[in-house]
């Protein structure tokens, strides 16, 4: 069971939340190239390790926020409000 720390409501059971995917994607400008839009819509880093992702507290405060979670272990490493950043992730070269 994931215990997800909502920045507004505190730690809550995962069944209250909806997943929103990779939070690091940056939406391109409306007039950006097709290649930039393709990369934004379809391509994913899909890291094996810490991943910043969006979650919605759908059965709670209805806010979107960011969670950092390790995809190898499901350990939750932190969370923050939209517009704020979690500390930079140190990734090994591989």
């Amino acid at each position: 069971m994931l215990l997800i720390p909502c920045p507004w409501c505190g730690p809550r059971n995962q069944v209250e939340f909806t997943y929103g995917g990779d939070a690091t994607l940056q939406r391109p400008a409306n007039d950006a190239s097709v290649a930039a839009w393709f990369a934004y819509v379809y391509l994913r880093d899909n890291p094996k390790g810490p991943l910043d992702e969006l979650w919605l507290h759908s059965a709670g405060c209805r806010s979107w926020f960011k969670v950092r979670r390790d995809t190898r272990t499901h350990d939750i490493l932190g969370s923050t409000r939209i517009g704020q950043n979690l500390p930079a992730i140190a990734r090994d070269a591989k």
Partner: protein
């Protein structure tokens, strides 16, 4: 040794002490004409068809763990070809035809059981969708039959078909030739048959890097040293993005965990495969007597090969809504496998943008039933450096071109398919 009634009798008389090993475990050579990364069903099938269909026998299969230890040994063993879209329908039908003859082809009993796959319809719109898909299948030459509620209730007496049901059964689409296959036997059968044709199967050999010179692959770095090859086929679904990243290729794929589970074994109670899209649930009974069940993804990116309790609760609740009498059974085991979830729910069997690099992956929920056709098409693509007509649509480029094969029309969300 060819397996037959005679070899069985001969070895029985020798107290089964002299059966040869089913395949060799050679040390890797310095160079191969082609190397397949991943010793699951898809990788072993690729190697087998490379040797059998294309005469390419200088082939190695590299597996970081043991054969069939990934998704080949973690699925719910269902095979079917009940797809709506043409590209999927023809591909999976080709696969089902290969399943039908596979035990003879490999001289290894994969225990294909054509027990039927029944998709339940729980609402008038479910019925319409089932009819439409059934008609599309029949137009594509695939067997499909719509069953009424009464026919289903007579056939499957322990299925809750009363009008009081939480999810009332209003009918169902049956594919009679669908069914189950013993999954471990698929890996072992392909491994043995490929080995007999000269393929080297190398276990506990993890690929750590792909070497590229002037835009073409020249070999792989592995935990057992460098292996030179001009052609590499990646068949590591669950980790496709991870391996493709070694060649600096980013894929339209996310890795998600899908759980499955079995009950304690009981006497025969269910002689077909029952699935329900409304509750996203599928169930069959193994030859050992266990009820094999699965449901949805856990819905978050994962490489963990294990999931969480809410999905297990959902699957068991769905099971009890459809089969109330199974409420007395205990769950015996649960496990998870890592799915390559593509952005349209369909696979990628294609050349990658580095010369000599190919992949079969992006199998979402559906990799096991595709195993023979995936290997066949992957081998064809590697041998000819061009796709077979049946995998020509499953390109990496289709996402860029807007030519999605989106069976569910769910949009570019990897976990939505």
């Amino acid at each position: 040794m060819r397996y037959s009634i005679f070899s069985l009798a001969r070895n029985a008389l020798r107290h089964h002490e002299h059966w040869p090993l089913a395949w060799r475990s050679p040390a890797p050579k310095k160079h191969y004409d082609a190397v397949i990364v991943g010793g699951g069903g898809h990788g072993l099938a690729t190697a087998y068809y490379l040797a059998r269909n294309h005469g390419v026998t200088s082939v190695a299969v590299l597996e970081k763990g043991w054969l069939g230890g990934g998704n080949t040994g973690r699925n719910t063993t269902i095979v079917r070809s009940n797809y709506h879209l043409d590209a999927n329908a023809h591909f999976y039908e080709f696969s089902l035809k290969l399943w039908e003859g596979l035990s003879h082809d490999l001289n290894f009993n994969v225990m294909y059981s054509a027990r039927g796959v029944l998709n339940l319809a729980h609402s008038p719109s479910d019925v319409d969708a089932a009819m439409r898909r059934g008609n599309a299948m029949r137009l594509n030459g695939i067997d499909a039959k719509f069953l009424s509620r009464d026919e289903i209730a007579r056939w499957i007496p322990n299925l809750e078909c009363s009008t009081n049901a939480r999810f009332p059964v209003m009918g169902g689409l049956l594919q009679p030739r669908g069914g189950t296959v013993r999954h471990d036997a698929v890996a072992w059968g392909y491994a043995r048959a490929a080995d007999a044709l000269g393929v080297d199967i190398i276990q506990q050999c993890e690929v750590t890097g792909i070497r590229i010179e002037r835009g073409a692959v020249v070999g792989l770095d592995t935990t057992q040293g460098f292996i030179g090859t001009p052609k590499i086929g990646i068949a590591v679904a669950g980790h496709s993005g991870h391996v493709a990243a070694m060649a600096v290729i980013k894929l339209p794929i996310e890795s998600h965990v899908l759980q499955a589970m079995v009950s304690e074994p009981v006497k025969p109670v269910l002689d077909t495969v029952v699935t329900s899209g409304a509750v996203h649930f599928y169930i069959s009974q193994s030859d050992k007597g266990e009820l094999v069940m699965g449901g949805d993804l856990d819905f978050y990116n994962s490489y963990a090969q294990r999931g969480n309790l809410p999905v297990i609760e959902h699957v068991t609740a769905a099971c009890l809504a459809l089969f109330p009498s199974f409420g007395r059974l205990k769950l015996m085991r649960t496990w998870g496998g890592i799915m390559d979830m593509t952005m349209d729910g369909s696979p990628i069997i294609a050349k990658l943008p580095v010369r000599g690099l190919y992949m079969t992956g992006g199998w979402c929920y559906g990799g096991f039933k595709a195993t023979p056709a995936s290997g066949w098409m992957h081998a064809h693509t590697i041998a000819n450096d061009a796709p077979h007509p049946l995998n020509a649509a499953f390109t990496l480029k289709r996402f860029e071109q807007g030519a999605m094969i989106d069976e569910k029309g769910a949009g570019p969300y990897a976990w939505a398919h």
